[in-house]
């Protein structure tokens, strides 16, 4: 499946890495913060239902929310303590959307819950179930529930079963972010072991760990570990560092030369992709029986005195991590994620979630644009760099052209939903237009209109049904009345009816008299 020679995707950018500073030291534990704010809904998942109430004390690793929807995921208490709040708070997601959060006050004991004493899984289903129970979601950034990826794999020996390749994505292409690189340097054993479990879960015959060619020492460590564990079907491949090579579709194109078609999942090509941190989380879940309660977060940026990777509990507030990394006072923008795709956060009190890979604190010098955005001159530079081979300038034309051209449906036809929001078009735009903002707007508006449309169709259906029902009842009543009047129209039957009624009345009055 994988070509000997690597392919390359359309467009992309070569960016400065800014990774070295944060990646020099092994990641440090971030310790216990004063409080933890755990967002229950993560990115694309469906919000699970909390199983705890305010005032309850929880133990480390205890389930605090259970999913009802197959796309939901479990949430666990990252440490022991008391639940102090269960309410809506801003979360570490796009626009810091307010969502249901559990606030936990740690008691400092960090006491584990009694382990459920699970056996090592034997079958595919058991592995997937343990992954689900551990609350693991894709840790690369999109946060797709991991177990859901394996539900599409058909059972063994059926006509549908196919050759599957597992790709472990270690190519974090965005500048500044180094958590995956540091994880591969610190925990090669865990990653390889986790990959082995994922191989079994996917029923795949080989795994490729893709890393970037600019990071030193990682391939050596991983290869040594693979050799030590004698797993022949895992290989490590270096891919050229071109942004956004770490994107799912881009990495598949680089490794296999194949493209995932619009609206399809990589499994349509027999590929399942997982982040390295997810592989580590799978190791923790199966070998150590620990749910996903912590992750490596890069804390970096020009405002950070000591850039560093931290192993932080889920829900650790940004402020705690910034303090550890000795953040200066000149922060203008606090960004979660990298400079290309990250989201600016309005406050440092928000807790990290399972997908938060980086905290980027930048002073005003770095964030202030040289010039405000100007009208599009249709130069087409954005088309050249778009890794999804879209037409960014044409999309802008339909979203923010003029009265005559604006038509979001046209933007949909031009595949605005295939935009991965990598920001390459905005980066090269000579008019400094934040193109991705327009696409995000178009996506949200189109989704909104779709929901409205579905709702109005449902309402129409229900209204029509109601009218039909009312008509039916009316017609039934009329038919009843008509049958009565038609009976009376016939003289003899009317007489018989009247005499029957009179006889009944007479009988009743006689009965009364007898009493």
């Amino acid at each position: 499946m994988v070509n000997e020679t690597l392919s390359h995707f359309h467009g992309g950018l070569v960016l400065r890495h800014h990774k070295k500073a944060s990646c020099e030291q092994p990641s440090k534990p971030a310790g216990l913060p004063d409080y933890l704010v755990i967002a229950l809904k993560t990115n694309r998942g469906i919000c699970p239902v909390p199983t705890i109430s305010v005032g309850e004390s929880v133990l480390k690793g205890q389930v605090i929310a259970k999913p009802e929807h197959p796309m939901g995921c479990y949430s666990h208490a990252p440490t022991s303590g008391i639940v102090t709040a269960l309410d809506h708070n801003p979360t570490a997601s796009q626009d810091a959307i307010s969502a249901l959060c559990v606030t936990i006050q740690p008691d400092g004991k960090d006491q584990w819950v009694e382990p459920a004493d699970q056996k090592k899984p034997n079958t595919r289903e058991q592995i997937v179930e343990q992954i689900k129970q551990a609350g693991i979601i894709g840790l690369g950034g999109a946060g797709f529930p991991t177990h859901a990826k394996y539900l599409q794999v058909p059972d063994n020996n059926t006509a549908l079963s196919r050759e599957t390749t597992l790709i472990i994505n270690g190519a974090e292409c965005e500048p500044y972010i180094s958590c995956d690189e540091r994880l591969m340097l610190d925990h090669p054993h865990e990653i390889i072991k986790g990959t082995e479990w994922l191989l079994k879960a996917a029923d795949a015959n080989k795994a490729i760990i893709a890393i970037e060619d600019n990071i030193g020492g990682v391939k050596k460590r991983l290869s040594a570990e693979i050799k030590k564990q004698k797993i022949p079907n895992i290989s490590v491949v270096k891919v050229p560092t071109i942004y956004p090579t770490g994107g799912e579709k881009q990495l598949i194109k680089v490794l296999t030369g194949q493209e995932v078609t619009s609206g399809q999942t990589p499994y349509s090509l027999g590929i399942i992709m997982q982040n390295v941190a997810t592989a580590k989380a799978v190791y923790d879940a199966i070998e150590l029986q620990q749910p996903l309660i912590n992750r490596v977060v890069t804390v970096t940026g020009e405002s950070i005195a000591e850039p560093q990777n931290y192993l932080a509990l889920i829900g650790t507030p940004f402020s705690h991590l910034l303090k550890l990394a000795q953040c200066k006072d000149d922060v203008d923008k606090l960004i979660i994620g990298g400079p290309m795709m990250g989201y600016a956060m309005p406050s440092a009190d928000i807790g990290i979630d399972k997908t938060t890979n980086c905290l980027l604190a930048l002073p005003e010098v770095c964030t202030k644009p040289e010039i405000e955005s100007m009208p599009c001159i249709r130069c087409g530079d954005c088309v050249k760099v778009c890794p999804q081979e879209l037409l960014p300038q044409q999309l802008l034309w339909y979203i923010d052209g003029n009265e005559q051209t604006n038509d979001l449906e046209k933007a949909r036809e031009h595949h605005v939903f295939d935009c991965i929001e990598c920001g390459a078009c905005s980066w090269v735009c000579p008019s400094h237009i934040n193109l991705v903002d327009f696409y995000r707007f178009a996506k949200s508006e189109l989704t909104y209109l779709d929901i409205k449309k579905a709702k109005s169709e449902l309402a129409k259906q229900r209204h029509d049904d109601r009218l039909a029902r009312l008509d039916f009842i009316k017609a039934e009543r009329q038919a009843k009345r008509r049958s009565k009047t038609s009976k009376l129209a016939d003289k003899s039957s009317a007489k018989a009816e009247i005499s029957a009624v009179l006889a009944r009345i007479k009988k009743q009055s006689e009965e009364k008299a007898d009493e």
Binding site: M374, D400, F441
Partner: protein, 194 residues
């Protein structure tokens, strides 16, 4: 004369035969593929928001659609459809875009209704007026609104004798976070003054 018939008779008969065949064919096709209802009314109805609220002074979206098509009503009487709906109607019917008629109401953000359950007396009046059967309950039992099916038409509010029906934001707000359209400067002067 006879010569003429000999010369033209066959082609004429052929033409008549063909005309008859096609005539029957047309009649058959028009019966077989008959379009039920007025397709333009259906198209207009598809643009209307189907709240069935009656703010347009017609008893539902379809009657209003029929009135628009027959020319009895202008296109600017639907507040839930808003300016965007008027624009779509104008495009479909190739008429001028009008401003929403304030007499019919104002465009509101998505709202639905909720029954304050402790106050409900179980009179079933709201159930009877709900155009989409989104309220469930029985006589002298507490009623409740199925939020996902409520269109926010507010017809139940005046029907309630104890005023226990209130407006709340629609659940659609939890499903999708609507973003603001980013602004783009239109001239280089504006950009340079930054």
């Amino acid at each position: 004369m006879l010569n003429c018939i000999e010369q033209w008779g066959l082609p004429l008969a052929g033409m008549v035969a063909l005309a008859t065949v096609f005539g029957f064919l047309i009649v058959w096709v028009s019966k077989k593929f008959k379009v039920e209802g007025n397709p333009i009314v259906e198209q207009v109805n598809a643009i209307l928001p189907q709240t069935q609220c009656g703010q347009c002074n017609f008893p539902g979206c379809k009657p209003y659609a029929e009135a628009i098509v027959s020319g009895e009503a202008p296109i600017n009487q639907c507040p839930p459809g808003g300016q965007e709906g008027i624009k779509k109607l104008a495009e479909l019917l190739d008429v001028e875009i009008l401003e929403l008629n304030p007499e019919n109401g104002v465009e509101e953000i998505d709202q639905v209704v909720e029954i304050v359950e402790p106050d409900c007396i179980g009179c079933t009046k709201c159930i009877q007026v709900c155009p989409v059967d989104a309220i469930v309950g029985a006589a002298k039992q507490m009623h409740t609104v199925i939020l996902d099916e409520c269109t926010g038409c507010d017809l139940c509010i005046p029907a309630c004798p104890v005023d226990c029906i209130i407006k709340i934001p629609a659940p659609i707000a939890n499903q999708i976070h609507r973003k603001q359209k980013p602004a783009l400067l239109k001239t280089i002067q504006e950009a340079q003054s930054w």
